[in-house]
């Protein structure tokens, strides 16, 4: 009991001391290099990514051609612009990426990039990808960081912006951001399907049995187990291995090997390049110098690595911190708390999140399911009792239809849309859905209660009781 009677004042003093220590630790000057490397690489990747999106005609295919869009709850007001407007958005995105890359009006460029990119993502959840979400988060975070303090046109224009050091929290924030993605992706893999049944890799790998050299291994079940366990361990450990100096370089080699492998085996587009690039923020100046020397780029090193951090810039930076103070005390704590909550929210819903998909998005659940579905809407005219089925194939694109077929909230949205369409034509109808879904090789079965009239069901964040267990 005696230990509990420590005087309050000393408690407070201790807390105050710790807070001071934390503040000092967060504010102490750190090399700006990782920040500017990330800025330049991010700008370049986003430029490439935007150009690729346009070149593949996805602007038209995803946002102009479809007659119906699956908007996010609360964002029904987000609508695609007319075709010229959509292309203008992508043109601006490319322009913003260049601005970020060159550090030209950086703050404006990255803010606009975040807004436009997030706008495009909010248009239709059929195209939701974890790495698009990651880009939204990363570009938001970059708004608050002084990543134009070096290697930038801004710094050339306004010498006052030039800095060789930044408060340590700016680099730490990026590391935390990347760490959150990996650790949550790793936690999401700690499921019986992934660890005990090696699913879905067991389904996906045999398709690559004619891969040169390694192909035959993909036909072996143990290979799927090896990949599953290695993948889970990789995700859970990699941020820490990157943080710790002695393991940093092997860890980066693992990052490259892991992401290149996934890129070769699965159609996951830009994701591997984005993650490989993002992990550069764990590198120090010496790491970069050594890496460049290893690549044989000696003359490049001289100006890349030459500036020595000047600790005396600290007080100057602190004296005019303005928006950065706001960021560190107001915005970013909320930003990271939000990110801690989102991946865990699925625990608030009953049932298996992989089946119900309640809390599945924005949770770093990456490549966890092989899911296929088929949904048929059964329409009943209330006045006559006549019934007829409707398939969504006519109105939706194959991509939209495929995604809707196993996601209850999308089925609900489309059922309500159908009811509204019939109502507009003067026919009051009830709409039920017969949705068969197969998850990770299990026999297809009904996802939803086919007796429930979805036209009258609510679309909110609450648990959807009509999802069958």
């Amino acid at each position: 009991m005696a230990t509990l009677r420590i005087p309050v004042r000393s408690d407070k003093a201790e807390v105050a001391g710790r807070t001071d220590a934390l503040r000092t630790w967060l504010a102490r000057p750190a090399d700006i290099l990782p920040l500017v490397v990330l800025r330049v690489a991010f700008g370049a990747l986003m430029l490439w990514s935007t150009a690729r999106f346009v070149a593949r005609d996805w602007v038209h295919e995803f946002y102009i051609a479809p007659q119906f869009h699956f908007t996010y709850l609360g964002f029904g007001w987000v609508k695609p612009l007319p075709p010229a407007g959509m292309y203008l958005v992508f043109g601006l995105l490319a322009g913003c990426a260049v601005a970020v890359l060159l550090g030209w009006r950086y703050r404006l460029g990255v803010t606009l990039f975040f807004l436009l990119f997030t706008y495009v993502e909010l248009l239709d959840k059929s195209y939701y990808l974890n790495h698009y979400y990651f880009i939204s988060l990363l570009s938001f975070l970059l708004i608050w960081l002084p990543a134009n303090g070096a290697w930038s046109l801004d710094a050339r224009r306004q010498p006052a912006l030039v800095r060789s050091t930044v408060p340590a929290w700016t680099v730490r924030a990026l590391q935390v951001q990347i760490g959150l993605v990996y650790v949550f992706a790793g936690l999401a893999k700690l499921t019986p399907d992934w660890l005990i049944h090696a699913l879905p890799l067991r389904i996906w790998l045999p398709a690559h049995s004619d891969f040169p050299l390694l192909g035959p291994l993909f036909d072996q079940v143990w290979t799927a187990y090896a990949f599953s366990w290695a993948g889970a361990l990789y995700d859970l450990m990699i941020p820490f291995l990157l943080l710790w100096r002695p393991t940093r370089r092997p860890a980066f080699a693992a990052v490259v090997a892991f992401h290149v492998t996934t890129r070769l085996l699965f159609p996951i587009g830009m994701f591997p390049w984005i993650m490989i690039t993002a992990t550069l923020v764990f590198f120090t100046r010496e790491d970069f110098a050594q890496a460049l020397r290893w690549l044989g780029v000696h003359h490049f090193c001289t100006w890349t690595v030459a500036p020595v951090p000047q600790p005396d810039q600290g007080p100057v930076a602190r004296s005019k911190r303005g928006w950065m103070t706001w960021a560190v005390v107001g915005v970013l704590p909320l930003f990271f708390v939000y990110q801690l909550v989102m991946p865990l929210r699925h625990w608030a819903y009953p049932g298996d999140v992989h089946w119900t998909e309640e809390g599945y998005r924005f949770a770093w659940k990456v490549m966890l399911v092989e899911k296929t579905g088929h949904v048929r809407f059964l329409v009943t005219e209330t006045a006559t009792g006549r019934k007829w089925p409707v398939t969504a194939r006519t109105e939706l694109t194959p991509q939209q239809e495929k995604q809707m077929a196993f996601q209850p909230d999308m089925i609900l949205q489309y059922a309500r849309h159908l009811a509204a369409q019939y109502a507009a034509a003067g026919h009051a109808v009830e709409v039920r859905a017969e949705a068969y879904v197969s998850l990770n090789g299990r026999t297809g079965r009904l996802l939803l209660d086919p007796t429930v009239n979805l036209a009258a069901a609510h679309n909110d964040l609450g648990h959807k009781r009509w999802i069958l267990p």
Partner: protein, 366 residues
């Protein structure tokens, strides 16, 4: 190639030295090659041969428009359409245009009558240029069948003065174009560097978006959806607030609708089994190799049984379909249900075990 090798080297270290399982690998390329040689090339050749005979029959009828020649032409149209439907499944991207030139349904009757009433020369060159909705099997069917009128009256359309002559010219030109297009398609599949070779070469799903197994599965799904939604569903009233709409049947004039659906399903059966002989290797064997199960049963056997059930349900409908949708809706409903059930097995269960969905779309997965 280099990137595959790079990947191999990168992960070889972590995998070397581990033991090997007992199962012999499944040769997907051999399966696809067998499918091309035993099924795809022969069905396209058969369709082309029937279409050539159709062109000859149309030519004979145009030369001597008699009821007997019309009957022979009609019979040959049926044979051609039935042969074609076994190939309808293989509407892959590179041959899609030819498919619609051969069989685009519904046909545009107004355009066809406009051409006949017009002054342009109605020869093979004209037929080659004209849009898909005014030619192919459905256009020929429109010209030579009319269930509402006796054959003599129909023959009279082809003999009545200048308009009759233009009608004869058009039907002969269309049949000739159909023979040319089916022959072109058959040659595309059979050639050493043609569609067949490209199909086999695209064997790896995930490597690019057109992995052959994914393409094949997708086309099976599209065909079954087309049968359920359009060939049966639309006439059953699914577009018309539940009220049957017989005019929506495919090939309603010839009354061949049900027989054509049957041929579609037979084409699908052969694609699934990889041929007609029991030991031909096909998708069914691949599913078995992958241990794909449906409620404890082998999935391949379940699908096979459901194809048989769907065929039986189609056979149980009294033709023609345009009449049956009103007089025997329960039988049509049973056929529709059986095909929907087959669709679920292919689209949900088979696609899941094959893991082909990751390559269905152009968008990146993650």
């Amino acid at each position: 190639m280099w990137k595959r090798l790079l990947c191999s080297l990168l992960i070889l270290g972590s995998l070397a030295g581990c033991g090997r399982g007992a199962q012999a690998p499944f040769d997907r390329e051999a399966m696809l090659n067998g499918l091309v040689q035993r099924v795809i090339v022969p069905v396209h050749d058969a369709a082309a041969a029937e279409a050539a005979t159709l062109a000859a029959a149309a030519h004979a009828f145009a030369g001597a428009p008699t009821p007997a020649n019309l009957a022979a032409l009609q019979e040959q149209w049926r044979r051609t359409a039935l042969a074609w439907k076994e190939a309808e499944l293989y509407a892959f991207r590179d041959v899609m245009i030819l498919h619609s030139q051969i069989d685009k349904w519904p046909t545009n009757e107004r355009f066809i009558e406009g051409f006949i009433a017009g002054t342009e020369r109605l020869d093979a060159a004209f037929a080659a240029d004209v849009g898909s909705t005014s030619k192919g099997l459905p256009a020929v069917e429109y010209l030579i069948f009319d269930p509402k009128r006796p054959p003599d009256a129909l023959v009279a359309d082809f003999t009545a003065g200048a308009a009759g002559e233009r009608r004869r010219q058009y039907v002969a030109a269309l049949a000739q174009d159909l023979a040319a297009k089916t022959a072109e398609l058959a040659a595309m599949w059979a050639g050493p560097d043609g569609q067949g070779a490209a199909f086999i070469a695209a064997a790896t799903p995930g490597e690019d978006l057109n992995g052959s197994i994914s393409m094949l599965t997708n086309e099976m799904i599209v065909l079954l959806e087309d049968i359920a939604q359009h060939k049966l569903g639309d006439p059953m009233g699914h577009l018309s607030f539940g009220v049957p709409a017989p005019t929506f049947v495919e090939a309603g004039r010839s009354g061949a609708s049900l027989a054509l659906i049957r041929a579609d399903l037979q084409g699908l059966t052969r694609a699934f089994h990889g041929g007609d002989a029991p030991d031909d290797v096909g998708l069914d064997d691949y599913l078995t190799y992958l241990d794909a199960e449906y409620e404890g049963q082998p999935l391949a056997a379940v699908i096979s049984a459901q194809i048989d059930a769907a065929l039986a349900a189609v056979d149980a409908v009294d033709p023609p379909l345009r009449v049956a949708v009103e007089t025997d809706p329960d039988a049509v409903q049973a056929a529709y249900d059986a095909i929907e059930q087959l669709l679920v097995l292919v689209k949900v269960d088979m696609a899941n075990h094959l893991g082909v969905t990751v390559t269905f779309s152009d968008n990146d997965g993650d």
